[in-house]
């Protein structure tokens, strides 16, 4: 005959320091982010770029528009014929390449930042509207976005610039318009996902008005994918601006935008490879850095997004 087993006894857990258990969200984010070495490398490179952009006039050894007639097409310093005065060489008009690249950083960052801001704010707003009014307003907005997305982004940007004319400001506008649909789509999807959740119902019952619901209750919880998208848009913006510059439709020479520099460099492939390689390399490294950061951000903010296309 078996005897009944003793009743359950719980052993008390040892008291734990709460601050160790629950680091602040920022600290938690940084811990997750810094685990990704690529992302950290990207961040450091971007800091370098930002530094160059902010302090370009002081960091650049020369004035980017100054032409040194005696030093046309000087090779970089490590090649024969190089000169310590022009570390990365000069272009076909005798302008210092390094200074132009540093100044170009300013332009690229400016274009990236402004186009992201100009498209993010209306985009998120439209997405919120589409999510909160899914009967008529929503589908209309989405149909419009579908039309905009029907055309490849570069072509649409090219079309807009064809209309508005070339130049820096029009480039920013074109890129902003082209990035708009992704923000709208993303926000709408996130909003529709959140609207079903209990905390939104609770807020409604508590009497939250529409603006409060939109901006205070729901929007903060949709930030993660938006931040990731913003970083990706930033890098696309730089690439598209460079492409437009290369096609002669964007920033015009003599302004030292990286893509524009490549357009005039085409004729010098055989004679002066550095005029061709270096601006493009800077574009590549910057975009790579931003993409690495974006990957790291995505992994740190929401690991579930990891395997998304």
């Amino acid at each position: 005959m078996t005897t009944p087993i003793a009743k359950t006894v719980t052993t008390p857990a040892t008291p734990v320091d709460q601050s160790l258990l629950y680091p602040s969200p920022y600290k938690e984010f940084w811990q997750a982010f810094s685990r990704n070495k690529g992302a950290v490398a990207g961040l450091m490179f971007m800091c370098l770029i930002v530094f160059c952009a902010l302090f370009a006039p002081w960091v650049a050894p020369h004035n980017p528009s100054e032409q040194y007639r005696d030093f046309l097409l000087t090779p970089p310093v490590w090649l024969e014929g190089g000169n310590w005065q022009f570390i990365l060489g000069t272009d076909e008009l005798g302008r210092d390449l390094l200074s132009r690249l540093i100044t170009g950083a300013r332009l690229s960052l400016l274009i990236g930042l402004s186009s992201v801001l100009i498209s993010l704010i209306p985009g998120v707003f439209l997405g919120l509207l589409a999510g909160f009014f899914p009967r008529i307003l929503g589908p209309s907005i989405m149909r419009l976005m579908d039309v905009m997305l029907a055309l490849p982004s570069l072509l649409l940007a090219v079309a807009i610039v064809a209309i508005l004319g070339p130049g820096l400001i029009n480039t920013v506008i074109a890129i902003a318009i082209v990035s708009l649909p992704s923000y709208v789509r993303l926000t709408r999807a996130a909003v529709m996902g959140e609207l079903n959740r209990d905390y939104v119902t609770a807020a409604r019952l508590a009497g939250a008005g529409l603006p409060r619901l939109m901006f205070v209750t729901v929007l903060p919880n949709c930030m993660a994918p938006l931040i990731v998208q913003a970083t990706l848009s930033f890098s696309s913006a730089i690439l598209d601006a460079a492409a437009l510059g290369f096609l002669g439709l964007g920033v015009q020479p003599p302004t030292p935008e990286w893509g524009t520099m490549l357009a005039s460099a085409r004729d010098y492939i055989e004679r002066a490879w550095w005029v061709v390689s270096l601006p493009g390399l800077t574009i590549l490294l910057s975009v790579l850095a931003i993409n690495l950061m974006g990957d790291g951000l995505r992994d740190a903010l929401d690991p579930k997004l990891k395997n998304a296309a």
Binding site: R143, L144, D146, V147, M148, A150, L151, P152, S153, L154, L155, V158, A159, I160, A162, I163, L164, G165, S235, L239, A242, A243, F246, L247, G248, L249, G259, L262, A265, R266, I269, E270, W273, V276, S277, P279, G280, L281, I283, L284, V287, L288, N291, L292, D295, N307, A309
Partner: protein, 336 residues
């Protein structure tokens, strides 16, 4: 399945009209007087101006102008190029095969190499190969492809002299454009060495154009494959005593390919955008180069309807890809 197709078709129509609205609006938005813009002149004789406005229908209310425009489109009248006086539609048809050939070659390159790299990277997860593939594909879609094209030209054409610098075929050859596809036409012609020459001309542009799709496909295949390999039915397949090759390729890849297909299709948009840049670098006579030159020359009929045609192309391809995806996924195939 039929209802799936019908629904997709239904979405197509409003999008198409949206595009026509967009292209219509695009031209009307050009700052300045439309007649002056069309004629490319500053001061036009007032009488000629009035006549032109009448002829171009520019003094009618906007909605009517739009309907006129759509009406003309329905009849196949896409206007004339201001430069060549050729019908925009004819010019498009003549130049399109070149772009198609290039895009096709790029897609084959991207698809084959991308799939292979993605599958192997997934199988050897964490290895040097895996990190290499991931790194290269990251670089691939971070780089400006016009620069990549220039670098490849510098290296392979100028330094090594392996490939030609531009064009579809050497000027020495006189090939009759029977199909418009240089590879086929050179095979059909009896000129010696023409085919090889055509191939050599195609290699570099195809690689450049295919680089971004390659990167995206490789990444997507890898992540899709990794997910699939974790699934229970893979364990079942192994428990059945099937060979590892069969487990991976018959059971794994078949399911991993489904999401990759959508990505494949989405690359068409990227390809057309890239074609614009690639054709410019390699002086490849396709619709991308045509469009850019038209923009530079302010040839507005070409710009307007060229964009329309390209957009329609993208929508059409996306539609076809959607249908193919539905066919590949048995769950959708069997929807009532």
């Amino acid at each position: 399945m039929l209802s799936f197709i019908a629904r997709r078709l239904g979405l197509l129509i409003p999008t198409f009209f949206g595009i026509t609205l967009l292209t219509f609006a695009l031209i009307r938005l050009i700052p300045g007087d439309p007649v002056e813009v069309m004629m490319g002149e500053r001061r036009v004789d007032p009488e000629m101006h009035a006549q032109a406005m009448e002829r171009l229908g520019l003094n009618k209310p906007l909605p009517e102008q739009y309907l006129d425009y759509v009406g003309k489109l329905a009849q196949g009248d896409l206007g004339e190029s201001l430069r060549t006086r050729e019908s925009v539609w004819n010019e498009f048809l003549t130049l399109f095969p070149a772009t198609l050939e290039l895009a096709f070659a790029a897609l084959v390159f991207a698809g084959v190499v991308g799939l292979l790299a993605g599958v192997i990277a997934a199988l050897k997860r964490g290895s040097l190969f895996d990190h290499g593939v991931m790194g290269i594909s990251l670089a691939g879609y971070s780089m400006p492809i016009f620069w990549w094209g220039l670098i490849l030209i510098m290296f392979f054409s100028v330094s090594l002299g392996w490939t030609p610098v531009s064009g579809r075929i050497d000027l020495l050859y006189d090939i009759e454009p029977k199909t418009g596809f240089m590879l086929i036409d050179t095979l059909l012609s009896d000129e010696e060495g023409a085919f090889k020459d055509a191939v050599m001309h195609l290699i570099l542009p195809a690689i450049v154009l295919g680089t971004i799709p390659l990167a995206v496909i490789a990444r997507m295949t890898r992540s899709s494959m990794l997910e699939v390999l974790r699934e229970d039915y893979i364990r079942t397949a192994r428990a059945k005593g099937l060979s590892p090759a069969r487990v991976v390729f018959v059971h794994g890849l078949r399911n991993a390919l489904i999401p990759v297909l959508t990505v494949f299709g989405l690359q068409v948009g990227t390809l057309l955008a890239g074609a614009v840049l690639t054709e410019t670098i390699f002086s490849w006579p396709g619709i991308g180069k045509w469009l850019i030159e038209a923009i530079g020359a302010r040839d507005y009929p070409v710009v307007q309807n060229g964009i329309l045609l390209i957009a329609c192309l993208v929508i059409l391809v996306n539609f076809v890809v959607d249908i193919l995806y539905g066919l590949a996924n048995p769950r959708i195939r069997h929807q009532r």
